[in-house]
């Protein structure tokens, strides 16, 4: 008589374990070859495991619901002749043969007879096959390693251990992770979070919130987006930047936009205005004070470049740099932060395709250039690559009619697309 160990076979690609869902036998049952032993379920299917041998079941392993690793012993069967248990034993960790413990009757510190120190049959450095571990076998690793494995969602019993007694060393865990081993039965590695934190909205954030709320509540916005070809403007900008002298600042798109605005606003004075809606009075300004929407560490601020109509391109660039830096540093003066008559809001490369800018109340218009991108454009029957930028804008529809808004933006577009017009008197 021998013992046959029926192990959970490889039930499918990438399946490292399966759940015991139903037993068809119990210890003591005689069984025939091909008779059902147990049903196991993988994430793919339920599989009926049949006996490869005739015999009598002597033991079954795994309660219903237990996850069994591939290779784990499911059933022990007593069979005629030799089973497979003996040959299996070589896989098992060789048991060291401890000498019989000397009798403890003589506890005096006498020198013990020198024993030949045989190379101890320490089962060290022989990775213990993962299939051989039980989930409840403890300890599998030192506490720090156990904690790290748990945080990674790796059940340690599947990690081959090279330490003494099959202990999983930190390096074993690293290797397991590096090998990208499919870790079965791993729930999400991120712990679900339910935290809700409360933050009092105060200071600048409250100011922003109030301003935005006020603007959206009071102003019926009309948003208009037009596409501009900025190839020429960009070429001019690049050339000016390349040949600028030491005291001249680097030019961004903003000073060009400001110059173009000043030009266009001359024909659309109602766009460069502040509407006191409580009083029902529109203040149209001769001066162009341009608000520059600026991201600061505390949040959105709108410092103002005053009298843009009196500034040339370089001075505009200098002023934009000065007021936005002051806003970011928190050194802006009160007059740097108020009195704008129109605002530009640009996110530069983050500008996206379209925005629906919120008007800086009590102004009546805001201009939001979007990002510049190279696009194929059909010109005269040919496709050419042009630098294209969308120009988003919002207007207070109480003051600015759609027709006027569109006309204003078309004027602006013409200036931007043919930058020579900006500088022509």
């Amino acid at each position: 008589m021998g013992c046959y160990l029926f192990r959970l076979p490889d039930v499918g690609e990438g399946v490292a374990e399966a759940e015991v869902v139903r037993w068809h036998v119990k210890p003591g049952d005689p069984i025939k070859e091909d008779q059902s032993l147990v049903d196991v379920m993988t994430d793919k299917a339920t599989v009926d495991m049949t006996s490869p041998v005739d015999g009598v079941v002597t033991a079954i392993h795994g309660d219903i619901g237990t996850m069994m690793p591939v290779g784990g012993v499911l059933v022990e069967i007593e069979v005629e002749g030799e089973g497979n248990a003996a040959s299996d034993a070589v896989v098992a960790v060789p048991a060291p043969s401890p000498e019989p413990a000397p009798a403890a009757s003589d506890p005096l510190p006498l020198p013990a007879p020198v024993e030949p120190i045989a190379p101890a049959p320490i089962p060290a450095n022989s990775p213990v096959a993962s299939q051989w571990r039980k989930a409840d076998e403890a300890p599998l690793a030192a506490p720090a390693t156990r904690q790290r494995a748990y945080a990674l969602g790796i059940p340690l019993q599947f990690v081959p251990g090279t330490g003494p007694g099959g202990r999983v060393t930190p390096e074993d865990l690293d290797a397991f992770v590096a090998a990208g081993s499919t870790t079965p039965a791993v729930s999400s590695r991120q712990s679900p979070q339910q935290a809700v934190s409360e933050t009092k909205i105060i200071g600048l954030r409250r100011k922003i919130a109030e301003k935005m709320q006020d603007a959206k509540r009071r102003i019926p916005h009309i948003t208009y987006v037009e596409e501009c070809d900025v190839t020429e403007l960009e070429a001019l900008r690049a050339d000016l930047n390349a040949h600028r002298s030491g005291h001249q600042p680097k030019l961004t798109l903003l000073p060009f936009m400001m110059r173009a605005l000043v030009r266009a606003l001359a024909d659309f004075p109602q766009v460069n205005a502040r509407y006191d809606d409580d009083a029902g009075v529109l203040h149209t300004h001769a001066a162009v004070h341009v608000g520059i929407a600026t991201q600061t560490p505390g949040g959105l601020m709108v410092p103002v470049v005053r009298n843009a109509e009196a500034l040339d391109l370089w001075d505009s660039a200098r002023e934009v740099a000065r007021v936005s830096t002051a806003a970011r540093n928190g050194t802006a003066m009160r007059e740097d932060l108020s009195g704008s008559t129109i605002t530009i809001t640009s996110l530069g490369p983050l500008g996206g395709i379209t925005t629906t800018p919120v008007i800086n109340h009590p102004e009546v218009a805001i201009i939001g250039p979007n990002k510049i991108a190279e696009r194929p454009v059909v010109q005269g029957g040919l496709v050419s690559v042009r630098k294209i930028m969308n120009l988003s804008s919002s207007f207070d529809h109480r003051i600015v009619d759609g027709y006027d808004a569109a006309s204003f933006i078309q004027r602006l577009k013409r200036l931007i697309e043919h930058p020579a017009l900006i500088f022509m008197d």
């Binding site: 060291p96 000498e99 510190p109 320490i122 945080a151 969602g153 003494p164 007694g165 809700v196 409360e198």
Partner: protein
């Protein structure tokens, strides 16, 4: 209703579970409130571990000096030492005060708001606290229950008068002439032995047929021997019946009715979780008997209500509560943690002391082959030089035969409590016998016994 406090974490109970949870939560930047009705430190610090150890130390010193009147190591006192027990108790109180102040300072440093008063939950996340300044409401996102445990009372032996619990035993005005201890668990034995050393005539009544029933017979034998040789009367297999005449009536193992004369009857028959009286029933918590049911994250059945320590089950030990408290704080802060110690060490400060970590030979599962190595302190030089080698003490290591993995270490002997760290470390790190064999243990120290016991299990101990 008065003021309302809002917090991320509310910890109820300032014992070794609760205050550790609160400090860790504070360290992790969580806005934390700790509510404690009594003094900070809990049973452990105020009326348990710490004060009892102080009393045991003083008792040991008194016993040694008493022994010196007969002459010992060439030291002889001409007259017996005088005991001013009130001063002993005051000294003990001083230690408690110091630690209590320490806990308070640590909580403050961790920016934990401490509310002194009794907490009563109105729902799972809201509790009202009756403070000396009136009622206060605390609302929190997470609640950590750490209410601890209380001494068990017997219906026929209610506390009061002569009948005292361990709490009163640590603050007696004088050493009782005759002390009867009911219950031979570790609390009863520690205090019983201390009072025996202080000169009380001590008898111990235990319903089971042995002392310290949670440990194996061999491990507790040296303690039993000490009781035997120091005139402590042991009534095993005996049942306490109630107060009669001059003391306690018991029914002995043979069915005899005896009356044990007593000035004090110390009842130490166990502790029960403090799961009543603070609104648990309004928190929808699933129970596990008298304990609050928790999973291995210490989560209760109610979301974001956590429970730690004695409230959640055995073993009722301070260090278990602390470990759980630390873990829960980290989980609340978003870490992925699980309570998964291999072993929780247990220490008895009896005479001699006992340490038990992990598996003991009597608990080895069927089918697991083990090797056991035991080394007596009788063969340890340091033990002999401290007069700690003649009480039958030893260290015992249990390892799995197949791979020599250490599954448990126990020991009994004077001063052995300090070896608890190494024992636990070896079990928890998954050490094998060869690891211990390869670690040089300083000579002469008691720790050498651990080394030798491991060598013995490997079959080549040097000094036995």
């Amino acid at each position: 209703m008065g003021e309302t406090l809002k917090a991320k974490v509310l910890v109820v109970g300032g014992g070794p579970g609760g205050y550790v949870a609160a400090i860790r939560a504070g360290q992790l930047g969580l806005d934390t409130v700790l509510v404690e009705a009594d003094r900070l430190g809990g049973t452990c610090l105020v009326r348990g571990c710490i004060p009892s150890k102080a009393l045991i130390h003083a008792a040991g010193l008194y016993e040694e000096m008493t022994a010196a009147t007969e002459g010992r190591f060439g030291i002889r006192l001409d007259s017996p030492p005088r005991l001013d027990f009130a001063e002993t108790i005051a000294w003990k109180e001083g230690i408690v005060d110091r630690l209590n102040g320490g806990v308070s300072a640590l909580l403050k440093r961790a920016k934990v708001r401490v509310v002194n008063g009794h907490a009563s939950f109105t729902d799972a996340k809201t509790c009202s606290v009756a403070t000396s300044d009136g009622s206060l409401t605390v609302v929190a996102e997470h609640v950590v229950l750490a209410t601890g445990s209380l001494p068990v009372e017997l219906p026929f032996l209610p506390f009061g008068g002569k009948v005292i619990s361990s709490t009163e035993a640590l603050a007696l005005a004088e050493v009782p002439k005759r002390l009867v201890v009911v219950g031979a668990g570790y609390i009863g034995l520690e205090l019983g032995i201390a009072y025996a050393k202080l000169g009380a005539e001590v008898s111990i009544v235990e319903a089971q047929d042995r002392i310290l029933p949670v440990y194996d017979v061999k491990l507790v034998e040296p303690v039993r021997r000490w009781l035997d040789t120091h005139g402590v009367a042991l009534h095993l297999g005996a049942k306490a019946r109630g107060q009669r005449g001059e003391g306690l009536e018991i029914e002995s193992a043979s069915g005899e009715q005896l009356i044990l004369a007593a000035d004090r009857i110390l009842l130490t028959v166990g502790r029960r979780p403090n799961s009543e009286g603070w609104g648990r029933e309004r928190m929808a918590l699933e129970m596990d008997g008298a304990f609050v049911r928790v999973n291995d994250h210490c989560a209760t059945s109610t979301t974001n209500v956590w429970a730690i320590g004695d409230l959640t089950g055995e073993p009722m030990l301070a260090h278990k509560a602390s470990a759980q408290g630390e873990m829960v704080a980290e989980i609340i802060a978003g870490a992925r943690r699980r309570f998964m110690p291999v072993a929780i060490p247990a220490v008895c400060f009896t005479e001699p002391e006992i340490v038990s970590v992990g598996l003991s030979p009597d608990k080895v599962l069927e089918g697991v082959d083990v090797v056991v190595g035991q080394f007596p302190f009788q063969a340890n030089g340091r033990a002999l030089s401290m007069d700690a080698g003649n009480d039958g003490g030893f260290v015992r290591v249990i390892a799995r035969k197949a791979d020599h993995r250490i599954l448990g270490i126990q020991g009994v002997g004077r001063y052995i409590s300090e070896l608890a760290g190494e024992f636990t470390m070896l079990v928890e790190m998954g050490a094998v016998l060869e690891d211990v064999a390869g670690i040089i243990h300083a000579h002469p120290t008691l720790g050498e016994a651990t080394h030798e016991a491991s060598l013995k299990a490997l079959g080549h101990a040097i000094h036995v």
